[in-house]
Structure formats: C-alpha cells, structure tokens
C-alpha cells in the first residue's frame, strides 16, 4: 500500500500590518534617540555647520526635547526634509517630530492628519528683490517672475495675493531654498518669496546681502511650529510642554547659566514646578521630574535660543517683533505651569 503523503495545510497567517501600538514617547525612549525632521538647510533655523553639527532655532527645540526625554541633547538624529517630503516623513513614522518652519493651517490639521502643538515662530510671507530693480512695494511686481518653493502654503498665498491685487506674475516653482537662491541670484526670477524669516536667513548667506531688500508687505500669517502625528496625544503633550517650558523659563528669568542655582534658591512655586523641585510635573507626562530643567540647561530659555540663532546681532538679524513674550507686547504666551 502506497504511503499517502499529506500536505501541510497552508497556514494562512493573518498577515496584518503591525501598526505601531506603542506611543512615540516609548519608541523614542526605547531607541535612545530622537529623530527630528529638519530643514534641508536654512541658516539660523536648521542647517549643519562646517563640522556637520546641526545648529539653529528649530534645531535647538529638537535638542530641548531630546534633553527632556532622554537626558542628552546630543541624542538627536536630524533628517533633512524638503517642503514636499516633510509631511509624508512625519506621517509614515520616519521622524518623531517635525520642526522645520512648517506653517500651521486648517487643512494640515484636518486633511493631513497632523497636530501642530505650538507656534515657536510667528511669521508672515514676504518678498525679496534686488535693490537695483527699483521696486519698493510688492504691489509694483506686476508681470514679474517670482521664485516660489513648492509644497508650501506660500505657493497658495502668492496666487491669492496677485489675484486680489489684480496683477499678474510668472511663477518659477523650485524644490528648496538653495535652488530658489540660485535662480534668484542668477536673475532667473525678479523676486523670491517665502516666510520673511526665511528671506532674512537666505539674505544673510548671500555674497552681497546689502544689495537685496525685503519688501514691506507681509501678505499672510505663517505660524511656524513643531508638528507631530495626529492621535498620539501623550507625545504631542511632551513636545508642546517642552516648548512652553522654554517660554516660561524666559518669563521667569531662568537661563541655562543660572538654572541650577535657581532650582535650589527659588521661592516661586511655578518655577519650582517647572524645574521639578516640587510637584510631579514631569512624571505626569511619562518623563523624569527634572526633564524640563534638563531642557533649559541644554539650550537655554526661548529668549536665549532666539538671540543665539536668529536674533539681533546675528547675521540673520531678526527683531523679536511678534515673537516677544506677551509681557513685552508680543504673542509668545505659555499657559500656566500648574
């Protein structure tokens, strides 16, 4: 009798994509490294220096988050993203947080399913032109060729602005800031438009910065801030309150230099909670109690970060303006640390 061979039944395993069950905070802690989506290179905001270290206003926020979560501001990997790739990188989990001069808008909150957790820079869209063009207002740009970065809100604002003023323009769509600068400097476009802060940063790196002017019109609101994936509220809270901690620190006069001393000597209850001397603020968020103290010690308070990277006296030379603390007539306002 012939031996019957039986097939092993095909194990129709339920090949279901393992969606990240754990939150981003646990992932970052387990990995021991924060992956931060950054600009491909915008001086003052996020760019590698000559020796490859990332520096800048947005970069410092990433370092503060790393210091708060992991206790070490150097445990950050910066992943350069373009205007086109940034949101996909965040959605797909390639980066933990996106701090890359990204504008908070309705459709990005709803359709792109992102959460902008704070505004670290209040900006608006402006135009830069060469001085010898003889233009003093954006409304005189009728018929001009304008360089514009693709995948940005500025692209849409530009179309709206020219339509409202009933003037025409020729768009030249470029992928990133460096290509825009090349085209602008070569004269392939008459004007370059992006966030006013970005224009100032670009101008600072140009060989003859004085021959370019930024026109007075600010044609839009561009609240720039860190973004996280929609639905991960715990991680969103960590990013949001790390930023607010830097704001509160400035408000209370806590700096990277005096943070240790203040922690021992302060009598202000809010500062005590901020620095983890009293209360369980850090622990409530899944962090150490001195998490925010570490963040402040690592990068300084908001004012220090601003002054070091983009403030007056740097090559970018941006006045605080809207980004002054609310106590000084600006918009930067942190909810109470309670």
């Amino acid at each position: 009798m012939k031996k019957t061979v039986f097939f092993g039944a095909l194990a129709a395993s339920t090949l279901v994509a393992g969606l990240a069950g754990a939150g981003t905070l646990d992932d970052v802690k387990a990995r021991g490294e924060l992956i931060c989506g950054s600009n491909t290179g915008l001086t003052g905001f996020g760019a590698p220096d000559a020796s490859g270290n990332w520096t800048g206003f947005d970069v410092d926020l990433c370092r503060a988050i790393a210091a708060a979560v992991l206790g070490d501001p150097t445990k950050v990997k910066f992943l350069p993203t373009t205007g086109e790739t940034r949101f996909t990188a965040l959605q797909s989990g390639e980066v933990d947080v996106l701090v890359r001069n990204s504008t908070w808008s309705f459709s990005r909150d709803s359709e792109l399913a992102l959460d902008f957790v704070a505004v670290n820079y209040y900006d608006g869209q402006g135009f830069m032109v060469k001085k010898d063009l003889g233009v003093s207002s954006a409304k005189e740009l009728d018929g001009a060729t304008v360089c514009i970065q693709t995948g940005t809100t500025t692209e849409l604002n530009l179309a709206d602005f020219f339509k409202q003023n009933n003037i025409s323009y020729q768009p030249v769509t470029v992928a990133d800031d460096s290509e825009a600068q090349r085209q602008y400097l070569a004269g392939a476009c008459d004007a370059y438009t992006t966030d006013a802060s970005g224009l100032a940063a670009s101008r600072a790196t140009m060989p003859d910065a004085d021959t370019h002017i930024i026109l007075p019109e600010i044609i839009s609101k561009e609240p720039l801030g860190p973004a996280v994936r929609h639905g991960d509220n715990q991680w969103g809270d960590v990013v949001r309150w790390t930023f607010f901690a830097l704001l509160v620190a400035e408000e209370k006069g806590v700096t990277s230099a005096n943070v240790e001393e203040v922690a021992t000597s302060t009598t202000d209850e809010e500062v005590k909670r901020l620095l983890g001397v009293s209360g369980e603020m850090g622990a409530k968020m899944g962090l150490d109690n001195d998490a925010f103290k570490r963040a402040i010690a690592a990068v300084g308070n908001y004012g220090e970060v601003y002054a070091r990277n983009i403030g007056e006296g740097t090559t970018i030379n941006l006045a605080r303006g809207l980004n002054a603390l609310w106590t000084q007539g600006g918009l930067q306002y942190a909810p109470p640390f309670r």
Partner: protein, 425 residues
Amino acid sequence: MAMATDVPKDSFRLSMLVYDTRYRSYTIQIVVLLLFAMAVAWLLNNTAQNLAARGKEFNFAFLWQRAGYDIGQQLIPYTNDSTHFRALLVGLINTLVVAFWGCIFATILGVIVGVLRLSHNWLISRMMTVYVETFRNIPLLLWILLSYVILSETTPQPRDFRVTDEMAAAGEAPAASMIFFDTVAVTNRGTNVPAPLFERGLGSVDLGFVTLNLTLLAALAVVAGSFWVNHRLVAAARAQQEATGVRPATWWKSILILFGPFIALMAALGFHLEVPELKGFNFTGGILVAHSFTALLIALTLYTAAFIAEIVRAGIQAISRGQSEAAFALGLRPNRTTRLIILPQALRVIIPPLISQYLNLTKNTSLGIAVSYLDLRGTLGGISLNQTGRELECMLLMMLIYLTISLIISAAMNLYNRSVQLKAR
C-alpha cells in the same frame, strides 16, 4: 476472468498531485497563484488598515476642488481658480508636448548619427562614437540639469535689453538685443518667440473641459486637404508614367496645391505676428518658451538619440552586404539603394527596440521636476499631492496615466511595425 479486475483501478490519490507528472505542474501553478493572491490581499489590507489608522479615506473628490496654485507653462487656459483636475490636464499636456517633440527630434538625430557612425570617414565615425558613448553613459538627470544651468546662466536678463534714455542720448546699444530681425528674445528665463494672431479668427468652441480653437482646426483641415489632393496628383502622375512611360511635370502643381490654399486661408483670417516687447520686468506679448522646457527637450533628445543611433546602426548592419551589392549590380544609385533596399529591411529590426526608446523618453519626461518643468509629475504628483495630502490617490492616478500613455504609444508603434514587416507572399 475479466481483464478489468486485473488492472489496478487508477483511482486519484492526493499524493499524485506531487508525484504524478500529469498533475504536478497544475499543483505548482495553483500554489503560486494562491501565494500571489495572498500577497496582493496583504498589500491591499495593509493599505486599508494604514489609511484607516490615519483617519484617511480613499476618494478622488479632491480633483474637483479649487487648486489654488499657478502654473508657469500652460497650453490650455488655467488659473488658480481652476480645479486640481484641470491642473492635471495642464500637466498631462505639458508631458505629452515634450514627449512628442522629444520623440521626433531624437529619431531624426538618432538616425543621422547612426548612419554617420557607419561612415567610412574615420573622423566622422569616431566623433559619432564619442557622442554616443558620452551621452548614453551619463545619467539623464545630469544632462537635464546641465542644459538648464547653461541656458539660464549664459543668457542675458530681460533688463539687459532695455534702452534707457541716457543710453539713447549717448547712442549706446543695450547689453543684449533680440535676434531674427528683432522678433525673438532669448533671456535667462526663456525664449520669447512671436505669436501668430488673426484679425478675423474663427473663435473657439467650449466643450466643457477642453476648448477647441476653430482657427487651428481650419488650418489643420486645409493642410490635410492639400496633402490629400497632392497625393492624388502624384498617384495620377505615376499611373500615367506606367501607362505611357512619360511622367508629366507635377512640381509646380504640387507647390500650388500645398501652399496656395494655406496662404489664402491665412490672408483671409488676417494673419500677423505679435512680436514680444520688453514691458516692465519681462517681455510681454508673443509666446514664452520657458528654459525648463527647452532644457528638458534638449537633454531628452540628445540622450535618447544616442540609444536610437545604436539601434539604427544595428538595424543597418543586420542587412547583409549582398543586398546592396545586388542593388548596385542592378544599377541602382546609392541613395535609391538605401531607400528601396536597405531601409525597408532595416526597419524590421529597428522598430521594436525603437518602441522601447519612445516609451523610455516619455517616462523620462517626469525628470522635468528637477528643472521645475510642471508636467504631470509636477502638477498632479507634485503640487496637488502636496496641497491635498492625497498621496495614494495621486500616485495611483499618475501611474495609471503613464501606463495608458505608454500602452497607446506601444499600440500605435506596433501597428506601424506590422505595416513594415516583410509580407510573406
């Protein structure tokens, strides 16, 4: 004793699925098919789950929303109030235009280079070898960037064309001037060429999403009609030649038929050229051919022509020398030998790989994104995708469109290929 009881009954057992060669191939095929279906199902399921996890749904409704962005080069009317679908159409047309001209120029250049590479002139054949090897061994993207940078960095800015009052008083010429009797201006943004205008144009008909330009249609109809009449004239001349041995002179009739009606139509419509003029920041009037288009077209042409040259060379070399020797023995002149003996046979070898090159060129137009050429990849797969966040829909739609274009080109070329194949009689 019946035979039937002696023969063991050949009943089907499960093991035969593996050990019996009659069934084994079916087993393997079914298992592979099942695995493939499972892989597809897993992918679909994965996609659906991930979409659900992000709170996204799969739909194409965004195509009918306002696009909100502007496109530099557009061949059909488009404003930022148009829909994303309209932007898709603008991009698609930009893709097709560059692919169409690219295929034509690449074929012309490729055939010339391919033939010259077989030349007995040592210098010419070596130069063609250098050209072919240089272009086909360096990535296309670099050629596109190179031609774009050369075009935009070496040409003058629009304001260099301006004559200021002081310059006019001093009798100085501006730094740059227009060419071709002051009708064409090459700036670092593009080439401004005159636009054809009609005083008494026929207007246009709006067919919902496309507008038909009646003037253009009339011109095309007249040209097509002229060619048809000319074809009949030549056919009649040939018939007479075959019947009587004397070919009647047709050249002046041909010229009259080919150009007469067209010129008459142009005169009737009041044809004139609108010459570009420097006004404000840029030249206005006329047509602006952006450098992104020119650079993409030049790079695609030079790159693909190198491949086509090799195909043409292979096709010609595939024809045995005996064929041309036989033709010479019959007294045919070299150009007639090429036209009547070599090329018809070489085409059989040339056409199939040529189809692949046309498809490659068409797909390679998507590299135009590197020089800001807003083709299908730039509008649907670039800005629309970004502004709406509908990656999956945009990518699938874009793949479907490229697939359709490629299949159409392939089908058309296959038809042509069939017509040039040797007819078995």
